[in-house]
Subunit: 343 residues, 2 copies
C-alpha cells in the first residue's frame, strides 16, 4: 500500500508517446488517431489509471464541486433538501461538499473559508444572519453563491426561498379561525435565521389583523437547536402554560413540534385537547406522530433543484450575471394536532 499512484507519465513511458498525447487520449480530444488512442486507453486500463483531479482542477480553474452549507443535518428538512440538491448536482455533473453550520456564525465562517480554499465552483448556503453574519465574506470571495431560505433584503444576491412570513401568517390565521387567541410562536435563535424573523412578522400581522394584542412573552425562542437544550427550553415553555394560558403553539420546525409533543406527554398535557400544535416543513415525521402533526409544507425538493439550477447558471454565465430570486409559497397540511376551541 501507499504505492505511488500511476500518472500520465507512467502511461506515456510505456506507450512511448508524449504525456500530452496520453492526456488527449484520456480526455476524448479529437486530435488523436484512433489507433494510438485505443492503445493508450488499453494501457491506462491495465494500470488502473485514475486521474488526479487536483492537478486537473488546478489547471482548469474549476473543480466541479459545489459547497453546501446547511444548518443542521439532524433536521429532516435540511436532509430532504440536501437530497434534492445532491440529485440535481449529480445530474449536472457536480458533486457536493457538505457542511453543517449549527447556526453558528463562527463555524459557518470556517466552513466558508474551507470551501473557498478547496476552490469550489459555487456555494449553496442557508446563511446564519445576525450581526456576525458572513454575507460580506461570501461576496468578496467572487465565488457564485445562492442564499437559501432567506428572504431578500437589501443585500444583492441570488435567492431561493420560501415565503415564511406568509406561512406563519396563514398558520396563525388558521388557529385564530379555530378560536385560538393566545398563541405561542416557538422559533429558533432570535434573529439568526431569516425564517425566524419572517415568521415573527407573519405572526404579528395575523394577530394584528384580528385585533389580538401581541404579547412579547408568547414569542419564544431557543438559543440553539441542540437537542438537549431544546428539551429544556420546551419544558420551560410548557411550564408557563398555566401563567400565560396559551392554547396553541406554532413551531418553526417539525423538530420543535416533536419536542413539544415529548414534553407535553411527560407533563401530562394532552395534544390537541389542551394544546394545539402546528409544525413547520411537513417532514416525513408528521403523519406518524400522535396525534398526526398539522404542519406548514414547503416544496423541499423543488427548493433544492432550483437552487442548483440558479447556481449552475451563474457559474456558466460568468461575468455578466443578473442575480435571480425564486420564491415559493408554503401551504398548511391539515392533520390532527389542532382543535377547534368552544366559543
Amino acid at each position: 500500500m501507499t504505492k505511488r499512484p500511476v500518472t500520465i507519465k507512467d502511461i506515456a513511458k510505456i506507450a512511448k508517446v508524449h504525456d500530452s498525447t496520453v492526456s488527449r487520449a484520456l480526455s476524448n480530444d479529437p486530435n488523436i488517431s484512433d489507433k494510438t488512442k485505443k492503445r493508450i486507453l488499453g494501457i491506462a486500463k491495465e494500470l488502473k489509471y485514475q486521474r488526479n483531479d487536483l492537478a486537473k482542477s488546478l489547471r482548469d480553474r474549476k473543480t466541479r464541486i459545489i459547497g453546501l452549507v446547511i444548518s443542521d443535518i439532524l433536521n429532516p428538512f435540511y436532509t430532504e433538501v440536501t437530497r434534492a440538491i445532491e440529485d440535481q448536482a449529480q445530474a449536472k455533473g457536480y458533486n457536493l461538499m457538505l457542511c453543517n453550520s449549527d447556526y453558528n456564525p463562527r463555524k459557518e465562517r470556517n466552513y466558508l473559508s474551507l470551501l473557498m480554499g478547496k476552490q469550489v465552483d459555487g456555494i449553496l448556503i442557508f446563511p446564519v444572519l445576525g450581526k456576525d453574519n458572513n454575507l460580506k465574506l461570501l461576496r468578496e470571495s467572487n465565488i457564485p453563491y445562492v442564499l437559501m431560505d432567506t428572504c431578500p433584503q437589501d443585500f444583492h444576491a441570488n435567492y431561493v426561498y420560501t415565503d415564511q412570513k406568509t406561512g406563519a401568517y396563514d398558520a396563525v390565521t388558521y388557529l385564530i379561525e379555530r378560536g385560538h387567541k393566545d398563541i405561542v410562536l416557538y422559533t429558533g435563535p432570535k434573529g439568526l435565521t431569516s425564517s425566524s424573523i419572517q415568521m415573527e412578522l407573519g405572526y404579528c400581522q395575523a394577530l394584528t389583523e384580528n385585533n389580538i394584542k401581541i404579547k412579547k412573552k408568547l414569542i419564544y425562542s431557543t438559543v440553539l437547536s441542540e437537542k438537549d437544550h431544546l428539551e429544556g427550553t420546551t419544558r420551560a415553555l410548557l411550564e408557563k402554560q398555566k401563567d400565560l394560558k396559551f392554547t396553541a403553539i406554532l413551531c418553526i420546525s417539525d423538530i420543535f413540534a416533536k419536542s413539544v409533543y415529548e414534553c407535553a406527554q411527560q407533563m401530562g398535557i394532552r395534544i390537541p385537547d389542551e394544546l394545539s400544535v402546528i409544525g413547520y416543513d411537513d417532514t416525513y415525521i408528521c403523519p406518524n406522530l400522535n396525534p398526526p402533526l398539522t404542519s406548514v409544507s414547503q416544496l423541499k425538493y423543488s427548493i433544492g433543484q432550483e437552487a442548483v439550477d440558479v447556481l449552475l447558471k451563474e457559474i456558466k454565465a460568468g461575468q455578466n450575471w443578473q442575480y435571480q430570486t425564486i420564491k415559493f409559497t408554503p401551504k398548511i397540511v391539515e392533520r390532527g394536532s389542532v382543535i377547534q376551541l368552544k366559543k
Copy 2:
C-alpha cells in the same frame, strides 16, 4: 466578479520578496524573521489572500478530506452517524465529502472513483455487498478505508460494526418470550447489506433454538429503500397477514417500522394489539410514534467516532498498518409496540 484570485506571487511582488518567503510566512515556518513575517501577513490580510488548497494538496499529496459513502441520507440512522463522523473529523482537522450510494453498486462505484480522483486521504463506507460489490476496487485504490456496519468476512480490512446478528437474535427471542411464533423479518434488499444478511442469521438462530420452524415466506425483503416503493412493499406484506397469520414484525430499520405503522393505520390494523413491531437503530423518531416504537439500539455516535479514529490512525501509520476491527453490541430499547400474547 470572476477576478483572478490573489496568489502568493501577488503578495511576493508587493512585499518585494521571493514566493518562497511568502509561503514560509503563511505556513508558520520557523525559518523567517518576525519582521518580514509580520509584514507579509499584513499584506496577505489586506489583499484577502486565500490559499489555494488544490495546489497545496497536489504538492503535499494529501487533501485532509475524508470520503464518506452512506446508503441513504433520508434515513436518520445514517444522518446521526454522519453527524458523529463530521464532528470527529472536524476535531482532527479533516473534512467530509459526503456521498449517497442508495444501495446501488453502480452509484457506489461512481462515487468511489470520484473520491479517488479527488485524492481523498481516506474513505469511510457503508458498503453495498452482493456480487457487484466494489470491495476489490477499494483495495486496489491503496487509499485507507474503513468498512462500516459490515460483519468481517474473509475480506481483510478495517471494520467498525455492530453485531446485527445478535441484535436480531435478541429481538426475536424477546418476541418469542412474549408468545410470538409467527414472526416476520422485514429486511432491505436481499444480500446487499451486511445487516440484512446478519439479521437473517440471528433471526433463524433464535427460531431454531426455540424449535420454531423457519418459514421462508416470513422472511420478507424490499428491492430498494425508495420511499414510494417501500410503501407498496409494506402494504403487500401486511395484506398477507391473513394468510400467513404472523403476529409480529422485526424491521431492519426504524424507517421500515414507520412504514409498517403507516400502512397498518391505513388498513385498520392496530399496533400492537393485532401486530407487534420492533424497529432497528433506535433513531429519534421512535419515542413519538403511536405507540412508541420498541427498537434495537446501536451506539450511532460511537460508531462514527471510532470509524474516524481508526481511519486516521491508518492514514498516519502509512505502510505498516495492521487492520483493526471494532465491534459493538446492540441492545433492545423497550417501548410500547410489542404485546404479550395470551397463551
